[in-house]
């Protein structure tokens, strides 16, 4: 029979190949799914892997989706490396949008353009506040960060809903649940006239660099990762696990909040109950598929954005539900986790021992 046994050293080849194999498996399942549904698999694959990259408009849309995914996944990668399971980035994203929106609503036509900076800082603060609750309850009361962060997603959705149906509702909005459209001074500057692409992508690029330095070149980043890989060693070395907990959660909360803020004053332009788009959950997959590595995250975020856009195209062109995106995202993560097994282990044929029933 086949037996899994640990490798002497992790396979470097597979470490890079595993996401590609996982993608191949996902594509294969996708093709089978298209055939099973009676759709042309070539057209289906085109919607997901070719169209989202074709032309400036498509690339601009891609950047709109990849930016929040990169930002959130960067923060989550620090958490996951420290073995802290913040799965409520969606809630932190929403609170980021709420805080940023709250500042943006106060702008007047003659506000200084600097208010844009205040808006984004407010977004970060919103996310940090929400993740800070998780850190506090974990630190003081030992409450599971998994469950608390996730419960806070639902709470954040309700806070947003309360605000846009209640005190923040646009008086001139024909009773729609939405805030006023934010003034131009507070909006994220666009790069090209007529395209939604904005400077958020440069912020994301700068953050990629920042996180790469933090993880590889700083003492705090090192301490954090030791704590995740070998808690006993970290304790012995005197690294504070409490500090790691707060750092990781505040960092990831701040990043998710920044993404939420950028989205609110960027492509959305106002707060509505439809601010949560699932980026917070999608970013979990982005972080894993990107190997918790800042550069890897860029690639996986682009891939995941293609899934989002592909899902929309599959709906409009092939008449398939948009939810296909979620199926592919989940499949990709499953396939990746299965493939990753073989980085640290290998299959070996072991003859079945005889003489024992």
């Amino acid at each position: 029979m086949f037996k899994l046994e640990p490798r002497a050293a992790p396979s470097r080849v597979l470490m890079l190949a595993s996401p590609l194999v996982a993608l191949a498996i996902t594509v294969l399942v996708g093709v089978l799914l298209f055939v099973a549904l009676g759709k042309d698999p070539v057209a289906g694959l085109q919607a997901f892997f070719v169209e989202p990259l074709k032309g400036t408009y498509a690339l601009s849309e891609l950047s709109i989706k990849a930016t929040p995914l990169i930002l959130i996944a960067l923060g989550l990668s620090v958490c996951f490396r420290a073995n802290i399971w913040n799965i409520g980035a969606e809630g932190q994203f929403i609170m980021g949008a709420v805080f940023a929106g709250g500042v943006a609503m106060r702008a007047t036509p003659d506000s200084s353009p600097l208010i844009f900076v205040a808006v984004l800082l407010a977004g970060m603060l919103g996310g940090m506040f929400w993740a800070g609750i998780v850190a506090l309850l974990r630190d003081r009361f030992n409450a599971s960060e998994i469950l608390v962060s996730l419960m806070l997603v639902y709470v954040a959705e309700m806070v947003l809903s309360y605000l846009v149906y209640g005190p923040w509702k646009d008086p001139q909005g024909y009773n729609f649940p939405q805030t006023i459209t934010f003034l131009d001074v507070t909006r994220v500057p666009k790069l090209v006239q007529g395209l939604r692409m904005n400077i958020g992508m440069f912020i994301a690029a700068a953050m990629v660099l920042g996180f790469a330095v933090f993880l590889v070149r700083t003492y705090a980043g090192f301490q954090l990762q030791v704590g995740g890989l070998a808690p006993a060693a970290a304790r012995y070395a005197g690294f504070s696990s409490r500090k790691a907990l707060w750092t990781a959660l505040l960092l990831s909360g701040g990043m998710a909040g920044l993404a939420g803020g950028l989205d609110a004053v960027g492509p959305q332009g106002q707060l509505t109950p439809y601010i949560p788009l699932g980026y917070g959950f999608g970013a979990i997959i982005v972080a894993f598929v990107g190997r918790l590595n800042p550069v890897g995250i860029v690639f996986s975020a682009v891939l995941m954005s293609m899934f989002y856009i592909g899902g929309e195209l599959a709906q409009s062109r092939l008449g398939l539900p948009k939810a296909l995106t979620g199926v592919f995202q989940g499949l990709l993560l499953f396939a990746l986790l299965a493939c990753d097994t073989f980085i640290y282990q290998r299959l070996r044929w072991v003859p079945t021992p005889k003489g024992r029933p």
């Binding site: 309850l137 599971s144 996730l150 539900p321 979620g326 989940g330 499953f334």
Partner: protein, 311 residues
Amino acid sequence: MTGLTADSLALLIAATLNAGTVLALASLGLLINERAGVLNLGAEGMMLVAAIAGYATGVQTGSDTLAFAAGAAAGAAMAALFGVLVIWLNTNQYATGLALSLFGAGLSAFVGITYTQQRLPERPHFDIPVLADLPFVGPAFFRHHPLVYLTVLFAIGLTWFLLRSRGGLILRAVGESPESAHALGYSVRPIRLLAVMVGGALCGLAGAYISLVYTPLWVEGMVAGKGWIALALTTFATWRPARVLLGAYLFGGVTMLQFQLQGQGVQIPSQWLTMLPYLATIVVLVLISRNPMWIRINMPASLGKPFHPGA
């Protein structure tokens, strides 16, 4: 504001049992998982897939039994996928469970799109003869789906199984010290897979209960965090079936109280009331986790740890 009349109290009790059954079924399933040492964060995904599987079967066949069977089967199938990855390929239990939740959300939304417009055929009534016609206790206790009563029986049976039967002893051994169980000749991995699948089937029943009885229709993401609350309940109950049942009704009551308050025209925005069960979960988690020793004494010792036989 009108006071609480006997009629509305009876309705509140009935609604509490209804909501509590969903949480109890899922949480008892997760308890079996966790007693075998496996932590499955995919409850939400399994429940969603089971909810649409049950609903679709209900719409197509009109049979209540078949619909619940489909829900249980869907839950067990999802759990098997998780189990094989976690138990044989030794993937990270947190990440894999999370993947199951995300995949389940996507899959159920995808499959369910054609069912959002369809209605279930008329539901059978399950009133218990004579008892259902009693004043007050009739509407409160005796007009429920059979699963409501079966869940209580199951919790009692599970207590007996875990503490008084040989099978329960083996299950607990596998969760507390898989090495010892292995040394005694028990196949740890198949036993864990079985526990995971039974847990998945129960989560499946809970999911199907949501779409067939609790709110008889299909809406994307309709489980709305109940899978995660059920996960919190196992900790709250320190892995004991009777306490799971108690916790589930307590939470069901909190969920239903909000509707009661809304119905009575209390001047609180509905959003704050909708938050209640989630906030209650956080509060309860904080209270129960405050004492790490209490958790450590009660938690299955090998919860979340992979097992490699013969390593």
